[in-house]
Each structure stands twice: as structure tokens, then as C-alpha cells.
């Protein structure tokens, strides 16, 4: 793994190439770089707080196993999100449709302004519950947009749809969430 010519951090594509060539440090850097975002995505998608770390681990394991299938059409992180989404779906099926969200998993305020934090945390929790009720594509488009700020082109490449369709899914998600979060 070598830094890019300008001394900047190597790109995800360069790290993936280094890992394919047998450099494990490249994998370590990819995990470090994307771990938090994958964890947030899983949690926002309905994973239990205590399950997130195991699911993150499984996501990266699956990603590195089939890293040759990442061709760079979508951002590496967006591609990781699709793997995480598949994993969550499998996990959900294994639990036979049991609701993943649980009362113990709710955000607990631990900041300086407990009242404001409580309000914010309750709002976030309502959004999370609403997200868990959306169809998968709507949820993932919404999260890739709102959590990651991804453009519709990238979202479409990651999720195997068109930019126009991704935009429609996003607006469906927003409309539905507005009703669910009221």
C-alpha cells in the first residue's frame, strides 16, 4: 500500500487493488475508513444496537471475499451498504420477520443538554422506526442520500437502478416517512 503521488490518502480503488495484490494493511485501512458509516447505516436500517458490530464485521468479511465483483461503478462505501442491506435482510429472514427494533436499543441522551438531546433522540428514533417500515429500496436510497449525501448516479449504480428511479424512490421515502413520523 503506497500513498498517492501527491501524498494524499490512497483512494478506495487503490486500496482495493493493493488488497487484491495481497496487502492486508489495505484491508485494515478500508475497514477503518468505512466502519462507522456501515455501522450507522445498519443501525438506521433497523439493526439492534448490540448486533451492529457483528453485522459490520460480517459485511466487511463478505465484501473482501467477493471484492473482485466491485468494479468501481459505484463508490466502495455505497457497495458496502448494499452488502450490509443484503445481510440485514438475511438476518431479518432468519429471525422470521421478528421486529429488529427493540426498546432497549433506543438512543439514550448523554450530552450536556439532556432535554434537547431527549427531544432530538426521540425524533431520531421515530425516523428510525419509520425507516424500518419502508420498502428496502426506498430506505436505502433515503439513507444513502441523507446519511452519506450521495448523488443519485452513485446510488443508482450501487443499487442497480437508474438515477431517475432512485430520485423517485427518495421522494416516495420522504412522503411515507412524513406520514409515519407525524
Amino acid at each position: 500500500m503506497s500513498p498517492s503521488p501527491g501524498g494524499e490518502a490512497p483512494s478506495d480503488a487503490a486500496l482495493v487493488a493493493a488488497y487484491r495484490a495481497g496487502d492486508e494493511r489495505a484491508a485494515t485501512e478500508l475497514v477503518r475508513r468505512h466502519l462507522g458509516a456501515v455501522g450507522r447505516f445498519l443501525y438506521a436500517s433497523g439493526a439492534g444496537r448490540s448486533d451492529v458490530e457483528d453485522l459490520v464485521q460480517e459485511t466487511f468479511f463478505r465484501a473482501f471475499r467477493k471484492v473482485d465483483s466491485w468494479r468501481g461503478d459505484a463508490a466502495f462505501r455505497s457497495w458496502l451498504f448494499t452488502i450490509a442491506g443484503n445481510l440485514l435482510r438475511d438476518d431479518y429472514r432468519k429471525r422470521k420477520g421478528r421486529q429488529i427494533l427493540s426498546i432497549e436499543d433506543r438512543d439514550l441522551p448523554d450530552h450536556a443538554d439532556p432535554e434537547a438531546d431527549l427531544v432530538a433522540s426521540e425524533a431520531a428514533e421515530r425516523v428510525r422506526e419509520g425507516l424500518s417500515r419502508l420498502p428496502r429500496l426506498q430506505r436505502e436510497v433515503f439513507l444513502l442520500r441523507s446519511q452519506e449525501g450521495r448523488e443519485y448516479d452513485d446510488i443508482a449504480a450501487a443499487l442497480g437502478t437508474t438515477p431517475g428511479a432512485a430520485r423517485v424512490h427518495y421522494h416516495h421515502a420522504v412522503k411515507r416517512l412524513k406520514e409515519l413520523v407525524k
Binding site: A27, V31, R40, Y43, V52, E53, V127, R145, S146, L177
Partner: protein
């Protein structure tokens, strides 16, 4: 593009601190309930799970992922080694048996140890007891087949000189 659409498109960037609302956009946001509701959703989602992500032990996850990948590579290596070993054993048996049947000039007992010794074995150090036993069985099997073949099948056809040659070969 309406102002509502423009705001909607810019919400993720503003929520991530990569852009700020213009005065016009801010005024619109204050007066448009629909945009306000969308903004509340996007800004809440952008913060969702931040504390969960902070709680993940990156070192632990990395070690476990790399450990599993290494274990899987080893397993695949063994599988390939076993497949190659099996093919080589089959080839060795074929080489040992067929010349014995086609020509009496080469005593079969001479060909067997050479072929068996040439078997490319998987890395023996890394194998467990059952796997080592399986390797041993395959070697014994390939040796036994040919010796057995000599005893029962071909000896009747050999003359005294050839029989002595076989005997010499078996006794080393």
C-alpha cells in the same frame, strides 16, 4: 426547478455541513411546512446512529475479519492441495498399472515405489491426524493395488528371470 425541489436536492449537503442555506432558502424553509418536514427528516437521519458508530471497536473488527479471511484462504489451499494430490495419486496408479499390463519388459513392482515417491503431497505439517491417515491410506492403497495385481494377475505369465526380478524389487 421549484424552490422546494432545489431545497430538497441541497438538504443532504447542508445536513453534512458541506453547504449552508442562502437567505432566500432560509426564508422559504421557515414558511413551507412541507420543506420543513423534509428537512427535519433529513437532518435527523444524518445524525442517526452516530453514537453507535463511535462504539464500534475498529481494531477488534479488523482482526476478526482478517482472521476469518486468512482461515478461509488456508482452507481453500488445503482443498486445492487435496484435489491435486488426488489427481496425482490417480495418475500414479494409472501409470503403475497400465505399463504392467501392456508390457512384460518392465516389472510392475519396480514402477510402483517410484510413482508413489513422486506423489506431490500436500503440506504434511499442517495436516491433522485424520488427514494424515487419509494420505497414508491413499499411498497404501496405490501400492497395495499394484502388488496385489502382481500376485494374482500377472505372475503366471512371467518367466523365471522376470519373477526373480519382481522378487528382487519387492525385497529391496
Amino acid at each position: 426547478m421549484t424552490l422546494c425541489e432545489q431545497l430538497s436536492d441541497r438538504m443532504p449537503a447542508v445536513a453534512h455541513g458541506q453547504a449552508v442555506w442562502s437567505a432566500e432558502e432560509q426564508a422559504h424553509l421557515a414558511g413551507c411546512a412541507d420543506c420543513r418536514a423534509e428537512w427535519d427528516l433529513v437532518s435527523a437521519a444524518s445524525r442517526l446512529g452516530l453514537d453507535v458508530a463511535d462504539g464500534i471497536d475498529a481494531h477488534h473488527v479488523t482482526e476478526r475479519v482478517l482472521g476469518r479471511l486468512r482461515a478461509e484462504r488456508r482452507r481453500r489451499g488445503w482443498q486445492i492441495g487435496w484435489a491435486a494430490g488426488g489427481l496425482a495419486a490417480a495418475a500414479a496408479v494409472a501409470i503403475a498399472v497400465w505399463p504392467g499390463r501392456l508390457s512384460r519388459q518392465v516389472p510392475p513392482s519396480v514402477a510402483v515405489p517410484v510413482a508413489a515417491a513422486a506423489l506431490p503431497l500436500p503440506e504434511l505439517d499442517s495436516l491433522g491426524t485424520p488427514e494424515l491417515q487419509a494420505v497414508l491410506d491413499s499411498l497404501d492403497g496405490s501400492l497395495g493395488t499394484t502388488v496385489q495385481g502382481v500376485d494374482t494377475g500377472d505372475l503366471d505369465d512371467l518367466d523365471a528371470h522376470e519373477l526373480q526380478h519382481v522378487l528382487d524389487g519387492m525385497e529391496g
